[in-house]
């Protein structure tokens, strides 16, 4: 029985001059024969995690183990063999080769694994029949509906009967009838010893899951009174990549905002002084903090919930907030 174990996984890459860490010390265990759903909004690292599981992206730190295989230790040729023999991938955009028929698309991984042509053809026919497409084998992807294309993609992914199947937003481009077909198929595949990991932001898939992993922790809007935070110079208020529900207004001193650079240093974004506010985007859109806030001098800030801050804004609307218009306060 091959379980999928992820330990302290970190993925960090450069985006322009800045360093982005979409996955930060993630640990996860998915037992064999189960279906795990990675849930989260766009940009939270779902696809990045799938890429690591599929042996396509090398993580910055941590380990990924599937059964006896330590994926993070494999070299390039071993990774290619791992992708071929151990992992099946269902892509968001189907990614069928447009010049090949449905049958030939399913034969691609079989031929890559040096399965003789005749045997590969028989296996592909068997798989297409299994996903209900025996009458569409000679069709090219352009002549198939989205749901049919995704079923061909699923057939291709399981062509070599891989023990690990990963699917990236498999319902993203499908209508509700096609979604039903694909959901049923994916659920069927998570049986026996196979591990299925699906990345999605489609909550309709949740009832299928044995295991749901929220990559961005859901933050309950905890309404509370404004809280005053006193910071000593150099003290960090919040860090880039963390979640938070407060928007801060500076009453005394200065707060500096900076991002971690790909080169290892810090890139200053701005300095907020008395009357300025900061940290509004994360709580507004339930996103991780995009910068670190640190006291440049001894400082005092007041933290508001989104609702509390809206009340503070008064006549200013959300648009002004997004555009970071100056706060007009009386008294």
């Amino acid at each position: 029985m091959a379980d999928l174990r992820i330990k302290d996984l970190v993925v960090e890459y450069a985006s322009g001059q800045e360093s982005v860490r979409p996955i930060n010390e993630l640990s996860l265990n998915v037992p064999a024969g189960s279906l795990a759903i990675l849930l989260g909004p766009s940009g939270c690292g779902k696809t990045t995690l799938l890429s690591c599981l599929g042996g396509i992206l090398k993580p910055t730190a941590g380990r990924i183990e599937f059964g006896d295989i330590d994926v993070t230790e494999l070299d390039a040729s071993a990774l290619s063999a791992y992708r071929r023999n151990t992992v099946g991938i269902v892509f968001q955009a189907f990614n069928l080769v447009p010049s090949l028929t449905a049958l030939e698309n399913v034969m691609v991984p079989l031929r890559a694994a040096k399965v003789p042509t005749k045997r590969a053809r028989e296996r592909a026919e068997e798989l297409l029949a299994r996903v209900g497409l025996s009458h569409r084998m000679s069709y090219r992807p352009g002549d198939l509906s989205g749901g049919q294309q995704q079923r061909v993609a699923v057939a291709r992914a399981i062509a070599l009967d891989p023990p690990l199947l990963i699917a990236d937003e498999p319902t993203a481009h499908l209508d509700y009838i096609q979604v039903e077909e694909v959901l049923t198929l994916i659920r069927e595949l998570a049986s026996g010893e196979r591990v299925v990991v699906v990345a999605t932001h489609d909550t309709r898939m949740l009832p299928l899951a044995d295991n749901v992993v929220e990559l961005v922790p859901h933050l309950d809007a905890d309404e509370h009174e404004p809280e005053t935070v006193i910071l000593a110079a150099g003290e960090t208020l919040f860090e880039q990549g963390t979640m938070g529900d407060s928007i801060y207004v500076v009453t005394e001193g200065e707060i500096e905002m900076f991002r971690e650079l790909a080169t290892g240093g810090e890139g200053m974004l701005k300095v907020a002084g008395p009357g300025d506010y900061f940290g509004e985007m994360g709580p507004l859109f339930a996103l991780p903090r995009s910068a670190t806030a640190r006291a440049r001098t001894d400082a005092v800030v007041i933290g508001y919930t989104v609702q509390g801050f809206r009340e503070l804004l008064g006549t200013l609307g959300s648009r002004d907030l997004i555009e970071h218009k100056a706060l007009h306060r009386e008294g």
């Binding site: 696809t47 290619s80 791992y82 071929r84 968001q92 010049s99 991984p109 890559a112």
Partner: protein, 345 residues
């Protein structure tokens, strides 16, 4: 992934067909240029061979018996190793040709003896106003042609006898040629020899057949070099067509390559597919080019004599060009990140 490469050829058949036709035309032009350059030597060789002589005695300062010759008075020579010697005259003259003038190569040799080629029809010239002409002039026996302002009566025809890029050869008696070229002065440009003289008399030197052919080609050396250069450039054009087509194909198939890599297809298999496309295009273009060159050759006013080896070499060169030209596309395929398979359309 050869099947994927073949299917892609079918998928983009119009584009590949255009590339094959374009490259085929370039290959055809290359073959025609090669044929033209080779044709110069073929007609020079045929002309020299048709004279039936083994060597030529020329003045020691002259570079050959034809274009590089220097006139001298006829000399009676007894050379060991020589079975026959004849006084020869060579020069160039013009004749009216509709509204323009046409150059002809004038050869003068005794009526009896070597120096006059085998005739396709008629008899050798025996009088100074008689001439044998190449049938490429389109004249008949009995016609009169005006050459160098002298009317000459055609008494014989030689089959396909030309030199200097298709200029017709005409043959007169030695005296007739002297009248035409030297105003009747008793001058010759070389002594044609049968046999192998060991040494040349003082003031003379011996030029063998190859030397005589080179001499007849001397005026065309610049043209031959230009054609060789043009042929080289055309090879580059062909490589560019094949290369750009394969590169475009690689660019458009980036997502396919990423998917192939993501599902574990080895990079070498992807490269083999791309290279195979280049080779197929190049070979089909070579076949088309060969056929076109055979069809286009007769349309040229000069002899297009494509050596058979060129037809054999063309597919080899084409495959080499195809593979080399696809290097940019291959590099592109190697660098495709399989992670590109993820994400939206």
């Amino acid at each position: 992934m050869l099947i994927a490469a073949l299917r892609d050829l079918q998928w983009r058949k119009r584009r590949f067909a255009i590339a094959i036709v374009g490259t085929g035309l370039v290959f055809a032009m290359t073959l025609v240029l090669t044929g033209l350059a080779n044709g110069f030597r073929v007609e020079a060789t045929r002309t020299v061979d048709s004279l039936g002589l083994d060597a030529f005695l020329v003045k020691s300062g002259a570079t050959g018996p034809f274009l590089g010759s220097a006139a001298f008075p006829p000399t009676m020579l007894q050379l060991p190793g020589v079975s026959a010697s004849v006084p020869l005259v060579y020069g160039s003259a013009t004749m009216p040709d509709r509204d323009s003038a046409r150059s002809v190569n004038v050869f003068g040799a005794p009526e009896r003896g070597p120096g006059i080629p085998a005739l396709a029809d008629g008899h050798p010239p025996s009088a100074t106003d008689e001439v044998v002409v190449s049938n490429t002039m389109g004249k008949s026996i009995g016609d009169t042609v005006e050459i160098g302002s002298r009317p000459l009566r055609i008494v014989g025809l030689v089959d396909d006898s030309t030199a200097l890029a298709g200029q017709p050869n005409i043959f007169l008696t030695t005296a007739g040629a002297q009248k035409l070229l030297f105003s009747g002065q008793s001058l010759i440009t070389s002594v044609g020899l049968q046999g192998r003289p060991a040494t040349a008399p003082d003031g003379f030197r011996i030029v063998d057949r190859n030397g005589a052919i080179d001499d007849l080609l001397r005026a065309l050396s610049g043209a031959r070099q230009a054609m060789t250069l043009m042929a080289g450039l055309l090879w580059l054009v062909a490589a560019s067509i094949v290369g750009s087509m394969i590169y475009m194909s690689a660019m458009e198939r980036t997502r396919d390559f990423a998917v192939f890599k993501a599902v574990g297809v080895p990079t070498r298999s992807i490269l083999a597919g791309l290279a195979m496309q280049a080779v197929i295009v190049a070979v089909l273009a070579a076949v088309l080019g060969g056929v076109l060159s055979v069809m286009l050759g007769p349309l040229f006013p000069m002899r297009v004599d494509i050596p058979p080896i060129a037809f054999l070499l063309l597919p080899v060169v084409a495959v080499t060009i195809g593979v080399l030209a696809s290097v940019a596309g291959l590099r592109r395929a190697v660098t495709v990140d399989p992670a590109r398979a993820f994400g939206g359309p």
